[in-house]
Symmetry: C2
Subunit: 204 residues, 2 copies
């Protein structure tokens, strides 16, 4: 099974710009990519993993393909031969178990929603599937599958749903993470702040 | 199996106070409670469901117990006889499948995290377990289980993780819901707003 991990090397994590500076965002994004690759590496299944990056990536143990185009055409060009999975590089909570459940699904399309309507991971076993990451992509992807007559399995996973995009997501990583990205945040001075509602993060 | 559904009838959904007025918050909370009870009703397993409410509740088809105390002592008083599950009343995305997976877990404690460090649902098969909902309760509950020597199964479910507490959660309900609470939101004029990042809601 081929697994594509798209990675925005040029403008990583722009929605964290108020929280981390440019160099920090790149370091943090690199750490999350390493976590995702480590989780994939621990899946008990033969996977051929490619990082699909908009620019050079150092220090990861995977094949890198550079493609400077936007996400949608870059991914669609890799979907010709099924089965192909696409797993986002900011799923720093993804575990081998959660990924294994996705990869074990037998539907033409197994798909895991992200918070806020995105598509965080999918496995297409039918080459008719194509992506459109603009807007609320999860709904669009279900619609594309329906148009193509594909069977769909919606994978219900919190660990695949939490992509680390916004400051509130950093709390999820401190609460539940145990890899390079969590270590990076702790080293950068972030800690949990427990108030009345959801836990937040503060930086020392 | 006994299932307790705690419900704050007196001060529902205070973190939505900027989005919904007091009467609306109560109507919306009632609709979410109905959705949770409907999901429990569709679980293929014999469940004895009790709504543990701080005040009167109308229009639901379940036993109601009134307990005006804070959540922690009120729930702990119901944990004497195992197995007992506790499922929050604002899990408007909860499906029978997600709940069935929780209830099927054989560990002493099966537990599903909420976003932001909360505990959205659990099943205690050992009467030594007790709750402490103050602060980041998920970590505290894992610690309590560890202290008591209980086996733990962490249930990985987005549908159980999204409690509808904050304005951003309304988008999740419009994206993925299909019950009374989603209908209430639509009737109240809420719709999705698709921008550059996560989908948000706007009110007409």
């Amino acid at each position: 099974m081929h697994v594509v991990v798209p990675f925005a090397a040029d403008r990583p994590k722009t929605r964290l710009a108020d929280t981390l500076d440019t160099d920090e965002r790149r370091e943090f994004a690199d750490a999350m990519l390493r976590d995702v690759l480590a989780a994939l590496d621990a899946v008990p299944r033969s996977l051929e993993v490619t990082v699909l990056s908009t620019g050079p990536v150092d220090g990861v143990d995977a094949a890198i393909e550079i493609d400077e185009r936007p996400l949608t055409p870059a991914v669609n060009d890799r979907l010709g031969t099924a089965p192909t999975a696409v797993v986002m590089a900011d799923l720093a909570l993804a575990t081998p178990d959660a990924l294994t459940e996705l990869f074990a699904a037998e539907a033409d399309l197994a798909i895991a929603a992200g918070l806020g309507g995105g598509t965080n991971a999918f496995l297409a076993r039918d080459s008719a599937f194509r992506v459109d990451y603009h807007g609320a992509s999860y709904r669009d992807h279900l619609a594309i599958a329906r148009e193509e007559g594909l069977s769909v399995r919606e994978v219900d996973s919190r660990l695949l749903a939490v992509d680390i995009d916004e400051p509130a997501d950093l709390a999820e990583l401190l609460l539940h993470g145990d890899g390079a990205a969590r270590d990076w945040l702790v080293d950068a001075g972030f800690e949990l702040s427990v108030g009345g509602g959801r836990v937040e993060v503060v930086r020392e």
